[in-house]
Protein backbone atom coordinates (compact mmCIF):
# COMPACT_ATOMS: atom_id res chain seq x y z
CA UNK A 1 0.00 0.00 0.00
CA UNK A 2 1.53 3.27 -0.98
CA UNK A 3 0.88 6.46 0.83
CA UNK A 4 0.95 8.93 -1.99
CA UNK A 5 1.62 12.47 -0.86
CA UNK A 6 -1.46 14.55 -1.50
CA UNK A 7 -0.44 17.97 -2.71
CA UNK A 8 -3.94 19.41 -2.80
CA UNK A 9 -4.20 22.64 -4.76
CA UNK A 10 -5.26 25.98 -3.22
CA UNK A 11 -8.82 25.70 -4.54
CA UNK A 12 -9.34 22.37 -2.76
CA UNK A 13 -7.77 23.72 0.41
CA UNK A 14 -10.07 26.77 0.26
CA UNK A 15 -13.18 24.61 -0.22
CA UNK A 16 -12.03 22.27 2.55
CA UNK A 17 -11.52 25.15 4.97
CA UNK A 18 -14.57 27.13 3.90
CA UNK A 19 -16.99 24.77 2.21
CA UNK A 20 -19.92 26.43 0.46
CA UNK A 21 -23.49 25.15 0.79
CA UNK A 22 -22.67 22.92 3.73
CA UNK A 23 -25.41 21.40 5.84
CA UNK A 24 -28.70 19.61 5.91
CA UNK A 25 -31.59 21.29 4.05
CA UNK A 26 -34.84 20.86 5.93
CA UNK A 27 -37.12 21.71 3.01
CA UNK A 28 -35.22 19.79 0.33
CA UNK A 29 -37.27 18.52 -2.60
CA UNK A 30 -34.98 15.56 -2.97
CA UNK A 31 -32.18 13.97 -0.91
CA UNK A 32 -29.64 11.48 -2.24
CA UNK A 33 -26.69 9.57 -0.86
CA UNK A 34 -23.62 8.00 -2.47
CA UNK A 35 -20.87 5.89 -0.92
CA UNK A 36 -21.01 4.55 2.60
CA UNK A 37 -19.02 4.97 5.79
CA UNK A 38 -17.07 1.78 5.11
CA UNK A 39 -15.63 3.33 1.94
CA UNK A 40 -14.43 6.21 4.07
CA UNK A 41 -16.32 8.27 1.58
CA UNK A 42 -19.97 9.26 1.76
CA UNK A 43 -21.95 12.20 0.49
CA UNK A 44 -25.50 13.41 1.09
CA UNK A 45 -26.96 15.91 -1.39
CA UNK A 46 -30.00 18.09 -0.75
CA UNK A 47 -31.70 19.81 -3.71
CA UNK A 48 -34.49 22.36 -3.67
CA UNK A 49 -36.13 22.15 -7.09
CA UNK A 50 -38.91 24.49 -8.25
CA UNK A 51 -41.81 23.62 -10.55
CA UNK A 52 -39.86 24.79 -13.62
CA UNK A 53 -37.36 21.98 -12.86
CA UNK A 54 -34.71 24.50 -11.82
CA UNK A 55 -32.39 23.82 -8.88
CA UNK A 56 -32.99 26.79 -6.59
CA UNK A 57 -30.67 25.66 -3.85
CA UNK A 58 -28.27 22.78 -3.27
CA UNK A 59 -26.40 21.71 -0.17
CA UNK A 60 -24.32 18.77 1.00
CA UNK A 61 -22.88 16.87 3.94
CA UNK A 62 -19.80 14.72 3.56
CA UNK A 63 -18.06 12.03 5.53
CA UNK A 64 -14.84 12.00 3.62
CA UNK A 65 -11.43 13.40 2.88
CA UNK A 66 -10.58 16.95 1.81
CA UNK A 67 -11.09 16.05 -1.88
CA UNK A 68 -14.48 14.57 -1.11
CA UNK A 69 -15.53 17.72 0.74
CA UNK A 70 -14.19 20.04 -1.96
CA UNK A 71 -15.78 18.19 -4.89
CA UNK A 72 -19.14 17.93 -3.12
CA UNK A 73 -19.06 21.61 -2.34
CA UNK A 74 -18.13 22.64 -5.87
CA UNK A 75 -20.92 20.49 -7.36
CA UNK A 76 -23.49 22.32 -5.23
CA UNK A 77 -22.05 25.62 -6.47
CA UNK A 78 -22.03 24.53 -10.12
CA UNK A 79 -25.65 23.38 -10.23
CA UNK A 80 -27.25 26.24 -8.33
CA UNK A 81 -29.78 27.91 -10.65
CA UNK A 82 -29.37 25.25 -13.32
CA UNK A 83 -32.20 23.47 -15.06
CA UNK A 84 -32.18 19.76 -14.19
CA UNK A 85 -31.48 18.97 -17.83
CA UNK A 86 -28.25 21.00 -17.68
CA UNK A 87 -27.30 19.69 -14.23
CA UNK A 88 -27.62 16.15 -15.63
CA UNK A 89 -24.90 16.99 -18.16
CA UNK A 90 -22.33 17.80 -15.45
CA UNK A 91 -19.62 15.14 -15.58
CA UNK A 92 -16.90 14.21 -13.11
CA UNK A 93 -14.42 15.74 -15.57
CA UNK A 94 -16.15 19.13 -15.24
CA UNK A 95 -15.96 18.78 -11.47
CA UNK A 96 -12.28 17.80 -11.48
CA UNK A 97 -11.55 20.82 -13.68
CA UNK A 98 -13.63 23.11 -11.47
CA UNK A 99 -11.55 22.23 -8.39
CA UNK A 100 -8.35 22.77 -10.37
CA UNK A 101 -7.44 19.09 -10.68
CA UNK A 102 -7.27 16.18 -8.25
CA UNK A 103 -4.48 13.78 -7.26
CA UNK A 104 -5.12 10.57 -9.20
CA UNK A 105 -6.02 8.53 -6.11
CA UNK A 106 -8.77 11.08 -5.47
CA UNK A 107 -10.49 10.99 -8.89
CA UNK A 108 -13.15 8.77 -7.40
CA UNK A 109 -14.19 11.60 -5.06
CA UNK A 110 -15.32 13.73 -7.99
CA UNK A 111 -17.03 10.71 -9.54
CA UNK A 112 -18.88 9.97 -6.31
CA UNK A 113 -20.05 13.59 -5.99
CA UNK A 114 -21.51 13.53 -9.51
CA UNK A 115 -22.95 10.07 -8.82
CA UNK A 116 -24.82 11.53 -5.84
CA UNK A 117 -26.09 14.42 -7.99
CA UNK A 118 -27.36 12.12 -10.75
CA UNK A 119 -29.05 9.87 -8.21
CA UNK A 120 -30.84 12.92 -6.82
CA UNK A 121 -32.08 13.95 -10.27
CA UNK A 122 -33.17 10.40 -11.07
CA UNK A 123 -34.95 10.19 -7.74
CA UNK A 124 -36.78 13.45 -8.46
CA UNK A 125 -38.30 11.89 -11.58
CA UNK A 126 -39.12 8.56 -9.89
CA UNK A 127 -42.89 9.07 -9.83
CA UNK A 128 -42.99 11.46 -12.73
CA UNK A 129 -42.62 11.02 -16.43
CA UNK A 130 -38.95 10.46 -17.18
CA UNK A 131 -37.55 13.24 -19.39
CA UNK A 132 -36.11 12.26 -22.76
CA UNK A 133 -32.64 13.63 -21.84
CA UNK A 134 -32.24 11.20 -18.95
CA UNK A 135 -31.17 7.78 -20.20
CA UNK A 136 -32.82 4.87 -18.33
CA UNK A 137 -29.54 3.01 -17.80
CA UNK A 138 -27.20 4.31 -15.07
CA UNK A 139 -24.68 6.97 -16.05
CA UNK A 140 -20.94 6.36 -15.66
CA UNK A 141 -20.86 8.10 -12.27
CA UNK A 142 -23.90 6.26 -10.94
CA UNK A 143 -22.34 2.95 -11.99
CA UNK A 144 -19.06 3.85 -10.29
CA UNK A 145 -20.85 4.84 -7.09
CA UNK A 146 -22.68 1.50 -7.09
CA UNK A 147 -19.45 -0.39 -7.67
CA UNK A 148 -17.72 1.40 -4.81
CA UNK A 149 -20.60 0.62 -2.46
CA UNK A 150 -20.66 -3.00 -3.60
CA UNK A 151 -16.91 -3.33 -3.02
CA UNK A 152 -17.26 -1.99 0.53
CA UNK A 153 -20.13 -4.42 1.22
CA UNK A 154 -18.05 -7.32 -0.06
CA UNK A 155 -15.08 -6.37 2.11
CA UNK A 156 -17.35 -5.98 5.11
CA UNK A 157 -18.85 -9.43 4.52
CA UNK A 158 -15.38 -10.91 4.21
CA UNK A 159 -14.44 -9.27 7.51
CA UNK A 160 -17.51 -10.64 9.24
CA UNK A 161 -16.70 -14.10 7.87
CA UNK A 162 -13.13 -13.76 9.14
CA UNK A 163 -14.42 -12.80 12.60
CA UNK A 164 -16.55 -15.91 12.74
CA UNK A 165 -13.73 -18.33 11.99
Amino acid sequence: MSRAPLPYNPKILELFQHPKNLGKMEDATVVSVAGNPMCGDMITFYLKINDQDVIERASFESYGCAANIATSSIVTEMIKGMKLEDAWKVSYKNVTDAVGGLPSVKFHCGILAVGALKRAIRKYFENKQSPSWMQPEPSFEEKQALEEEELARMLSKRMKAAEGK
Partner: protein, 407 residues
Protein backbone atom coordinates in the same frame (compact mmCIF):
# COMPACT_ATOMS: atom_id res chain seq x y z
CA UNK B 1 2.50 19.53 -7.83
CA UNK B 2 5.35 21.37 -6.12
CA UNK B 3 3.45 24.66 -6.54
CA UNK B 4 0.51 23.12 -4.68
CA UNK B 5 2.78 22.09 -1.84
CA UNK B 6 4.23 25.61 -1.65
CA UNK B 7 0.66 26.94 -1.35
CA UNK B 8 -0.18 24.38 1.33
CA UNK B 9 2.87 25.47 3.28
CA UNK B 10 1.93 29.15 2.90
CA UNK B 11 -1.42 28.28 4.49
CA UNK B 12 0.54 27.30 7.62
CA UNK B 13 2.33 30.64 8.05
CA UNK B 14 2.08 32.37 11.41
CA UNK B 15 0.99 29.35 13.43
CA UNK B 16 1.18 29.62 17.19
CA UNK B 17 1.51 25.88 17.76
CA UNK B 18 4.10 23.60 16.24
CA UNK B 19 3.70 20.20 17.85
CA UNK B 20 5.01 17.09 16.10
CA UNK B 21 3.22 13.99 17.35
CA UNK B 22 3.86 11.76 14.31
CA UNK B 23 6.75 9.82 15.85
CA UNK B 24 5.49 6.70 14.09
CA UNK B 25 6.44 8.07 10.71
CA UNK B 26 9.51 10.21 11.29
CA UNK B 27 11.34 12.05 14.04
CA UNK B 28 11.93 15.63 15.02
CA UNK B 29 15.52 15.36 16.12
CA UNK B 30 16.43 17.36 19.24
CA UNK B 31 19.21 19.93 18.97
CA UNK B 32 21.65 18.04 21.17
CA UNK B 33 21.45 15.02 18.84
CA UNK B 34 21.94 17.20 15.77
CA UNK B 35 24.91 18.89 17.45
CA UNK B 36 26.52 15.56 18.26
CA UNK B 37 26.34 14.51 14.59
CA UNK B 38 27.69 17.63 12.91
CA UNK B 39 31.46 17.16 13.55
CA UNK B 40 31.33 13.77 11.83
CA UNK B 41 30.44 15.25 8.46
CA UNK B 42 33.67 17.18 8.07
CA UNK B 43 35.78 17.45 11.20
CA UNK B 44 36.39 13.96 12.48
CA UNK B 45 35.61 10.41 11.42
CA UNK B 46 34.42 11.40 7.96
CA UNK B 47 36.65 8.74 6.42
CA UNK B 48 35.81 5.18 5.47
CA UNK B 49 36.37 3.06 8.60
CA UNK B 50 38.05 0.26 6.67
CA UNK B 51 40.88 2.41 5.32
CA UNK B 52 44.32 3.00 6.70
CA UNK B 53 44.39 6.68 7.43
CA UNK B 54 43.46 9.00 10.27
CA UNK B 55 39.87 9.93 9.20
CA UNK B 56 39.27 6.20 8.60
CA UNK B 57 40.61 5.14 11.99
CA UNK B 58 38.57 7.92 13.62
CA UNK B 59 35.47 6.55 11.92
CA UNK B 60 36.36 3.02 13.03
CA UNK B 61 36.81 4.12 16.61
CA UNK B 62 33.54 6.07 16.59
CA UNK B 63 31.52 3.24 15.06
CA UNK B 64 32.88 0.63 17.45
CA UNK B 65 32.29 2.84 20.48
CA UNK B 66 28.77 3.52 19.24
CA UNK B 67 28.07 -0.19 18.74
CA UNK B 68 29.42 -0.84 22.24
CA UNK B 69 27.04 1.70 23.77
CA UNK B 70 23.99 0.43 21.92
CA UNK B 71 24.99 -3.16 22.75
CA UNK B 72 25.13 -2.31 26.44
CA UNK B 73 21.84 -0.34 26.40
CA UNK B 74 20.00 -3.23 24.77
CA UNK B 75 21.65 -5.99 26.77
CA UNK B 76 23.78 -7.65 24.08
CA UNK B 77 26.62 -9.97 25.01
CA UNK B 78 29.12 -8.44 22.60
CA UNK B 79 29.27 -5.36 20.41
CA UNK B 80 29.60 -7.60 17.34
CA UNK B 81 25.96 -8.50 17.85
CA UNK B 82 24.95 -4.97 16.77
CA UNK B 83 24.77 -4.65 12.98
CA UNK B 84 23.99 -1.17 11.73
CA UNK B 85 21.55 -0.94 8.82
CA UNK B 86 20.00 2.08 7.12
CA UNK B 87 16.87 1.76 9.24
CA UNK B 88 14.08 -0.37 10.59
CA UNK B 89 12.76 -1.38 7.17
CA UNK B 90 16.18 -2.64 6.13
CA UNK B 91 16.79 -4.43 9.43
CA UNK B 92 13.45 -6.24 9.20
CA UNK B 93 14.09 -7.19 5.58
CA UNK B 94 17.55 -8.44 6.52
CA UNK B 95 16.18 -10.48 9.42
CA UNK B 96 13.53 -12.20 7.34
CA UNK B 97 15.21 -12.60 3.96
CA UNK B 98 18.59 -13.28 5.55
CA UNK B 99 17.13 -16.06 7.67
CA UNK B 100 15.16 -17.55 4.78
CA UNK B 101 18.32 -17.63 2.68
CA UNK B 102 20.43 -19.29 5.36
CA UNK B 103 17.94 -21.99 6.33
CA UNK B 104 16.94 -23.31 2.91
CA UNK B 105 17.53 -26.97 3.83
CA UNK B 106 15.71 -26.85 7.16
CA UNK B 107 12.20 -26.01 6.11
CA UNK B 108 9.92 -23.49 4.49
CA UNK B 109 7.59 -22.30 7.20
CA UNK B 110 7.40 -18.77 8.55
CA UNK B 111 5.24 -17.44 11.36
CA UNK B 112 4.37 -13.78 11.98
CA UNK B 113 1.36 -12.08 13.59
CA UNK B 114 -1.58 -10.32 11.99
CA UNK B 115 -0.37 -6.96 13.28
CA UNK B 116 3.25 -6.82 12.18
CA UNK B 117 4.45 -3.64 10.44
CA UNK B 118 4.37 -3.83 6.65
CA UNK B 119 8.14 -4.13 6.43
CA UNK B 120 7.64 -7.56 8.05
CA UNK B 121 4.22 -8.41 6.63
CA UNK B 122 5.00 -7.59 3.01
CA UNK B 123 8.37 -9.33 3.11
CA UNK B 124 6.82 -12.48 4.58
CA UNK B 125 4.10 -12.37 1.94
CA UNK B 126 6.76 -12.01 -0.73
CA UNK B 127 8.42 -15.21 0.56
CA UNK B 128 5.03 -16.89 0.56
CA UNK B 129 4.83 -16.28 -3.18
CA UNK B 130 8.17 -18.05 -3.62
CA UNK B 131 6.96 -21.21 -1.86
CA UNK B 132 7.14 -20.54 1.87
CA UNK B 133 4.16 -21.35 4.05
CA UNK B 134 3.14 -18.32 6.05
CA UNK B 135 1.07 -18.43 9.23
CA UNK B 136 -0.26 -15.24 10.79
CA UNK B 137 -1.01 -15.51 14.50
CA UNK B 138 -4.24 -13.73 15.45
CA UNK B 139 -4.48 -11.19 18.27
CA UNK B 140 -7.24 -10.27 20.71
CA UNK B 141 -9.14 -6.97 20.79
CA UNK B 142 -6.24 -5.26 22.57
CA UNK B 143 -3.66 -6.63 20.16
CA UNK B 144 -2.19 -9.35 22.38
CA UNK B 145 -0.82 -12.42 20.62
CA UNK B 146 -2.73 -15.66 20.89
CA UNK B 147 0.07 -17.77 22.37
CA UNK B 148 -1.91 -21.01 22.01
CA UNK B 149 -2.10 -20.43 18.28
CA UNK B 150 1.61 -19.64 18.23
CA UNK B 151 2.33 -22.97 19.91
CA UNK B 152 0.21 -24.79 17.35
CA UNK B 153 1.82 -22.96 14.43
CA UNK B 154 5.47 -23.77 15.15
CA UNK B 155 6.76 -27.19 14.06
CA UNK B 156 9.92 -28.93 12.82
CA UNK B 157 9.85 -27.11 9.52
CA UNK B 158 9.41 -23.61 10.97
CA UNK B 159 12.55 -21.65 10.14
CA UNK B 160 11.52 -18.22 11.35
CA UNK B 161 9.11 -16.56 13.76
CA UNK B 162 8.92 -12.76 13.63
CA UNK B 163 6.84 -10.96 16.26
CA UNK B 164 7.08 -7.32 17.33
CA UNK B 165 7.88 -6.69 20.97
CA UNK B 166 5.59 -3.64 21.01
CA UNK B 167 3.01 -2.99 18.35
CA UNK B 168 3.89 0.09 16.32
CA UNK B 169 0.31 1.37 15.97
CA UNK B 170 -1.54 0.49 19.14
CA UNK B 171 1.34 0.17 21.61
CA UNK B 172 0.54 -3.35 22.82
CA UNK B 173 3.48 -4.66 24.90
CA UNK B 174 3.62 -8.32 23.90
CA UNK B 175 4.63 -11.17 26.19
CA UNK B 176 7.61 -11.53 23.90
CA UNK B 177 9.83 -13.48 26.28
CA UNK B 178 7.09 -16.04 26.74
CA UNK B 179 6.53 -16.16 22.98
CA UNK B 180 10.25 -16.80 22.39
CA UNK B 181 10.20 -19.57 24.98
CA UNK B 182 7.18 -21.24 23.37
CA UNK B 183 8.86 -21.13 19.97
CA UNK B 184 12.16 -22.51 21.23
CA UNK B 185 10.42 -25.31 23.13
CA UNK B 186 8.62 -26.39 19.97
CA UNK B 187 11.72 -26.07 17.80
CA UNK B 188 15.10 -25.03 19.17
CA UNK B 189 16.45 -24.34 15.67
CA UNK B 190 13.70 -21.87 14.70
CA UNK B 191 15.13 -18.37 14.41
CA UNK B 192 13.17 -15.95 16.59
CA UNK B 193 13.13 -12.35 15.40
CA UNK B 194 11.50 -9.47 17.19
CA UNK B 195 11.03 -5.99 15.80
CA UNK B 196 11.90 -4.10 18.98
CA UNK B 197 11.76 -0.65 17.33
CA UNK B 198 8.90 0.48 19.55
CA UNK B 199 10.36 -1.18 22.66
CA UNK B 200 13.93 0.14 22.58
CA UNK B 201 14.20 3.15 24.88
CA UNK B 202 10.54 2.87 25.85
CA UNK B 203 10.06 -0.29 27.87
CA UNK B 204 12.71 -2.11 29.93
CA UNK B 205 14.18 -5.10 28.12
CA UNK B 206 17.39 -7.01 27.79
CA UNK B 207 18.15 -8.87 24.60
CA UNK B 208 20.07 -11.71 26.27
CA UNK B 209 17.26 -12.24 28.71
CA UNK B 210 14.58 -12.02 26.01
CA UNK B 211 15.75 -15.13 24.20
CA UNK B 212 15.55 -13.60 20.74
CA UNK B 213 18.01 -14.53 17.99
CA UNK B 214 17.43 -11.36 16.02
CA UNK B 215 16.05 -7.98 17.04
CA UNK B 216 15.44 -4.77 15.14
CA UNK B 217 16.35 -1.45 16.76
CA UNK B 218 15.38 1.89 15.29
CA UNK B 219 16.93 5.32 15.66
CA UNK B 220 14.09 7.61 14.66
CA UNK B 221 11.64 5.95 17.04
CA UNK B 222 13.74 7.34 19.90
CA UNK B 223 14.05 10.79 18.27
CA UNK B 224 17.33 9.93 16.60
CA UNK B 225 17.92 10.66 12.91
CA UNK B 226 16.18 8.67 10.15
CA UNK B 227 18.24 6.44 7.89
CA UNK B 228 19.89 4.38 10.61
CA UNK B 229 18.91 1.37 12.67
CA UNK B 230 20.42 -1.90 13.77
CA UNK B 231 19.78 -5.59 13.67
CA UNK B 232 20.89 -7.51 16.72
CA UNK B 233 22.18 -10.91 15.67
CA UNK B 234 22.89 -13.16 18.60
CA UNK B 235 26.32 -14.74 18.79
CA UNK B 236 26.49 -17.92 16.68
CA UNK B 237 23.23 -17.22 14.84
CA UNK B 238 23.95 -17.21 11.14
CA UNK B 239 21.98 -15.24 8.61
CA UNK B 240 22.99 -14.20 5.12
CA UNK B 241 23.38 -10.67 3.88
CA UNK B 242 20.79 -9.62 1.32
CA UNK B 243 22.74 -7.01 -0.64
CA UNK B 244 26.08 -7.42 -2.37
CA UNK B 245 28.87 -4.86 -2.31
CA UNK B 246 31.91 -3.81 -0.37
CA UNK B 247 31.69 -5.16 3.17
CA UNK B 248 33.31 -2.91 5.76
CA UNK B 249 32.82 -2.99 9.50
CA UNK B 250 29.22 -4.21 9.14
CA UNK B 251 29.36 -7.81 7.96
CA UNK B 252 25.66 -7.93 7.04
CA UNK B 253 25.32 -4.61 5.27
CA UNK B 254 27.64 -3.55 2.44
CA UNK B 255 28.46 0.05 1.58
CA UNK B 256 30.23 2.86 3.36
CA UNK B 257 29.12 3.24 6.97
CA UNK B 258 27.23 6.44 7.75
CA UNK B 259 29.20 7.61 10.76
CA UNK B 260 27.24 10.84 11.49
CA UNK B 261 23.94 8.94 11.56
CA UNK B 262 25.42 6.21 13.74
CA UNK B 263 26.58 8.95 16.12
CA UNK B 264 23.08 10.49 16.11
CA UNK B 265 21.49 7.10 16.83
CA UNK B 266 23.95 6.60 19.69
CA UNK B 267 23.39 10.07 21.14
CA UNK B 268 19.60 9.55 21.04
CA UNK B 269 20.14 6.17 22.76
CA UNK B 270 22.23 7.82 25.48
CA UNK B 271 19.49 10.37 26.10
CA UNK B 272 16.93 7.56 26.23
CA UNK B 273 18.89 5.35 28.60
CA UNK B 274 20.70 7.82 30.85
CA UNK B 275 17.51 8.64 32.72
CA UNK B 276 15.44 5.77 31.45
CA UNK B 277 12.78 5.70 34.15
CA UNK B 278 12.49 9.44 34.38
CA UNK B 279 12.11 9.65 30.59
CA UNK B 280 9.55 6.90 30.28
CA UNK B 281 7.59 8.24 33.27
CA UNK B 282 7.52 11.60 31.57
CA UNK B 283 6.29 10.07 28.31
CA UNK B 284 3.61 8.13 30.15
CA UNK B 285 2.48 11.21 32.04
CA UNK B 286 2.29 13.36 28.88
CA UNK B 287 0.59 10.57 26.94
CA UNK B 288 -2.00 10.09 29.70
CA UNK B 289 -2.62 13.82 29.82
CA UNK B 290 -3.17 13.77 26.06
CA UNK B 291 -5.43 10.72 26.03
CA UNK B 292 -7.44 11.66 29.10
CA UNK B 293 -7.69 15.24 27.90
CA UNK B 294 -9.15 14.09 24.58
CA UNK B 295 -11.56 11.68 26.27
CA UNK B 296 -12.84 14.41 28.58
CA UNK B 297 -13.19 17.01 25.83
CA UNK B 298 -14.43 15.00 22.83
CA UNK B 299 -17.42 12.66 22.65
CA UNK B 300 -17.65 9.43 20.64
CA UNK B 301 -14.01 8.42 20.84
CA UNK B 302 -12.48 4.96 21.17
CA UNK B 303 -9.04 4.04 22.45
CA UNK B 304 -7.35 1.50 20.21
CA UNK B 305 -5.07 -0.88 22.08
CA UNK B 306 -4.68 -1.68 25.79
CA UNK B 307 -4.62 0.67 28.76
CA UNK B 308 -2.14 0.88 31.60
CA UNK B 309 1.14 -0.96 32.00
CA UNK B 310 0.64 -3.19 29.00
CA UNK B 311 0.71 -0.23 26.66
CA UNK B 312 3.93 1.45 25.52
CA UNK B 313 4.29 4.78 27.38
CA UNK B 314 4.45 6.92 24.24
CA UNK B 315 1.51 5.59 22.24
CA UNK B 316 -1.94 7.16 21.87
CA UNK B 317 -4.24 5.78 19.17
CA UNK B 318 -7.75 7.15 19.20
CA UNK B 319 -10.69 6.69 16.82
CA UNK B 320 -12.87 9.76 16.40
CA UNK B 321 -16.23 8.49 15.18
CA UNK B 322 -17.99 10.36 12.33
CA UNK B 323 -14.73 12.16 11.62
CA UNK B 324 -12.73 11.11 8.58
CA UNK B 325 -9.05 10.69 9.44
CA UNK B 326 -7.34 12.35 6.50
CA UNK B 327 -9.56 15.42 6.74
CA UNK B 328 -8.72 15.62 10.45
CA UNK B 329 -4.96 15.38 9.87
CA UNK B 330 -5.14 18.31 7.44
CA UNK B 331 -7.33 20.35 9.75
CA UNK B 332 -4.92 19.72 12.65
CA UNK B 333 -1.89 20.52 10.53
CA UNK B 334 -3.39 23.89 9.60
CA UNK B 335 -3.39 24.63 13.35
CA UNK B 336 0.13 23.29 13.97
CA UNK B 337 -0.57 19.79 15.30
CA UNK B 338 1.02 17.03 13.22
CA UNK B 339 -0.41 13.52 13.47
CA UNK B 340 -1.18 10.62 11.16
CA UNK B 341 -4.33 8.72 10.36
CA UNK B 342 -4.76 4.96 10.44
CA UNK B 343 -6.20 4.74 6.97
CA UNK B 344 -4.50 5.25 3.67
CA UNK B 345 -6.36 6.00 0.49
CA UNK B 346 -6.09 3.44 -2.27
CA UNK B 347 -7.61 3.83 -5.68
CA UNK B 348 -11.25 3.44 -4.72
CA UNK B 349 -11.62 2.61 -1.07
CA UNK B 350 -9.96 3.96 1.99
CA UNK B 351 -7.88 1.06 3.29
CA UNK B 352 -8.18 0.76 7.04
CA UNK B 353 -5.01 -0.15 8.90
CA UNK B 354 -4.56 -3.94 9.02
CA UNK B 355 -3.73 -3.62 12.72
CA UNK B 356 -7.07 -1.99 13.53
CA UNK B 357 -8.92 -4.56 11.41
CA UNK B 358 -7.10 -7.37 13.26
CA UNK B 359 -8.28 -6.08 16.67
CA UNK B 360 -11.85 -6.06 15.35
CA UNK B 361 -12.39 -2.40 14.56
CA UNK B 362 -15.06 -1.79 11.93
CA UNK B 363 -14.05 0.14 8.83
CA UNK B 364 -15.79 3.32 9.91
CA UNK B 365 -14.13 3.13 13.35
CA UNK B 366 -10.72 2.66 11.74
CA UNK B 367 -11.18 5.50 9.24
CA UNK B 368 -11.32 8.10 12.00
CA UNK B 369 -8.29 6.80 13.87
CA UNK B 370 -5.40 9.09 14.74
CA UNK B 371 -2.01 7.84 15.88
CA UNK B 372 0.09 10.06 18.13
CA UNK B 373 3.38 9.35 19.85
CA UNK B 374 4.85 11.53 22.53
CA UNK B 375 8.58 11.67 23.17
CA UNK B 376 10.65 12.51 26.20
CA UNK B 377 11.35 15.84 24.49
CA UNK B 378 7.73 17.02 24.42
CA UNK B 379 6.57 19.58 26.98
CA UNK B 380 3.38 20.07 28.98
CA UNK B 381 2.79 23.10 26.81
CA UNK B 382 2.88 20.95 23.65
CA UNK B 383 0.16 18.72 25.06
CA UNK B 384 -1.90 21.75 26.16
CA UNK B 385 -1.67 23.10 22.60
CA UNK B 386 -2.86 19.77 21.21
CA UNK B 387 -5.71 19.61 23.71
CA UNK B 388 -6.85 23.12 22.81
CA UNK B 389 -6.85 22.42 19.10
CA UNK B 390 -8.02 18.80 18.74
CA UNK B 391 -11.58 19.28 20.08
CA UNK B 392 -12.36 22.20 17.76
CA UNK B 393 -10.81 20.44 14.77
CA UNK B 394 -12.91 17.33 15.42
CA UNK B 395 -15.98 19.48 15.85
CA UNK B 396 -15.45 21.23 12.53
CA UNK B 397 -14.92 17.99 10.61
CA UNK B 398 -17.94 16.41 12.31
CA UNK B 399 -19.91 19.48 11.26
CA UNK B 400 -19.13 18.60 7.64
CA UNK B 401 -20.12 14.98 8.23
CA UNK B 402 -23.46 16.12 9.67
CA UNK B 403 -26.02 13.36 9.52
CA UNK B 404 -24.21 11.54 6.71
CA UNK B 405 -23.69 7.91 7.56
CA UNK B 406 -25.93 8.03 10.63
CA UNK B 407 -27.76 4.72 10.96
Amino acid sequence: MIENVKELLRAHEGLECDVYLDGENSSRVPDEVVKAMIPYFNQSGYGNPTLTHKPGWEAYETIMESAQKIASFSGCKTLEEINFTPGETEANNLAILGTAASTREKGKKIVISEIEPINVLNVAEMLQKTGFTLTKIPVDEEGFLNLERLKEAVDRETVLVSLSAVNHEIGTVQPIKEAAKIVKEKNATTVFHTDASDAYGKIPFNLQDLGADLATLSSYKISGPRGIGALYVKERVNIEKILEGQIGTQRLWPGVENTPLIVGFTKASELAFENFEQGTDRMRQLRDKLTEGIFSRVSDVLLNGPRGEKRAPDNANISFLRCEGEALTIELSLSGIYVSSGSACSRRLLQPSHVLVAIGRKFDQAHGSILMKVTRFHTEEDINCALNIIPQAVERIRGITGSTGAE
